[in-house]
Symmetry: C2
Subunit: 121 residues, 2 copies
């Protein structure tokens, strides 16, 4: 599958709040790096990171731009999380590296930590 | 000229500290938005923004990834600024929209404001 389609499917899984599907698309040794934070290394660390996240009632990753070159996919997005009845919106750009087996091997999102903290307060 | 080459040339101008060349590549009505800050609208606002920037002894925008789709160009970079004898490094992703005349019409960089403030302190 084309790398861009892998990432589109990955984002679609998040937007269904289908975390099992999202985890199934991650490589076991994925490095997920929210750049202002420490990277999560490995699928178990990613699940632990999500376990620390407040419960979401809905998720909507809005993709403004997406493009690919080989196995690298870049996005500009607004990631929206419905938490405690209010949408929290994070403006960001993200880059993904898709492995030959179609799994996401690296995921780096660039955003402002203060915006994240403000929205999730 | 291809949009990706325009952005490569733009980054090269910064890396020569050739600000006149960089300004010449910006559209008069450019919107330059360092996402955690207010956008600079128009070339004069961009020059005013730079005038508030501390004097740089050298600049090195390291491009980790760059790709284009039509007139949209996306980058993952580490922008380095030599100021008062010390390199200040900002991890970021940036997106550019190149106008039909080859000028940069929009430029948005996504980074962590705390990292920026820490590095420039």
């Amino acid at each position: 599958m084309e790398a861009e389609q892998v990432v589109r499917d990955f984002i679609a899984a998040w937007n269904r709040s289908d975390f099992d599907a999202a985890y199934a698309m991650m490589a076991d040794d994925i490095i997920w790096h929210n750049i202002p934070m420490e990277p999560a290394v490995g699928i178990d660390a990613c699940k632990a990171l999500m376990a620390n996240f407040p419960p979401t009632e809905a998720i909507d990753f809005e993709t403004h731009h997406i493009m690919a070159n080989g196995n690298i996919v870049m996005t500009e997005r607004t990631d929206r999380f419905l938490i405690a009845g209010r949408w929290r919106n994070i403006r960001l750009m993200g880059i993904f590296e898709v492995n030959p087996d179609g799994k996401i091997g690296k995921w780096r999102d660039y955003f402002d930590l203060l915006e994240f903290q403000r929205e999730f307060a």
